[in-house]
Symmetry: C2
DNA sequence: ATTAATATGTGACTCATAGTCCGTTGACTT
DNA sequence: AAGTCAACGGACTATGAGTCACATATTAAT
């Protein structure tokens, strides 16, 4: 139930590392600006297609995205 | 658009490795058997909450789940 | 040969919510 | 003062969640 939160945190981390605004990333991903805000804040139960769009917009592979320590516990 | 299919394939791979039926895994994950079928076949645009339920039911971490070669390309 | 049990797949359906589009606000910057 | 950025909200439409009846294939026992 907190993958949703962890996902948002990771998106924010990578977005900031690339020096992008939420709006710029949203545009690259082809999703709404206001939606990106709520995703980063862990308020949205994102679909896997949008997960892919966002990860792709971050210029990273899916496995690299989830390689973070955040996702190492079960 | 592909992550949906890759996710399903990976779920099936790990489920079979554990010797579970779709129904047994679905039960562990707390979702419907027929829903699990369509997920494995890449027919569903699964939400991140259900992604987490399924990965957890497979007794694996999120980062391990996505560590497969399938997810290494962007 | 048929019966029964197990496993998987499909189409259709309702209902909740994912996701969009409009705008506003506050913080910070120049 | 004007611009950028993040967050929030209301109203709306598109779509995912969740379930069902039914079909199919395989295997095992009778």
């Amino acid at each position: 139930m907190n993958l949703q939160l962890q996902f948002g945190e990771r998106v924010r981390e990578l977005r900031l590392a690339k020096g992008l605004s939420q709006e710029a990333l949203a545009y690259k991903a082809g999703i709404d600006r206001t939606y990106m805000t709520s995703v980063e804040n862990g308020k949205r139960n994102v679909s896997i297609q949008n997960v892919e769009k966002i990860i792709t917009a971050l210029d990273i592979s899916v496995s690299e995205f989830f390689k973070s320590d955040t996702f190492k516990h079960n």
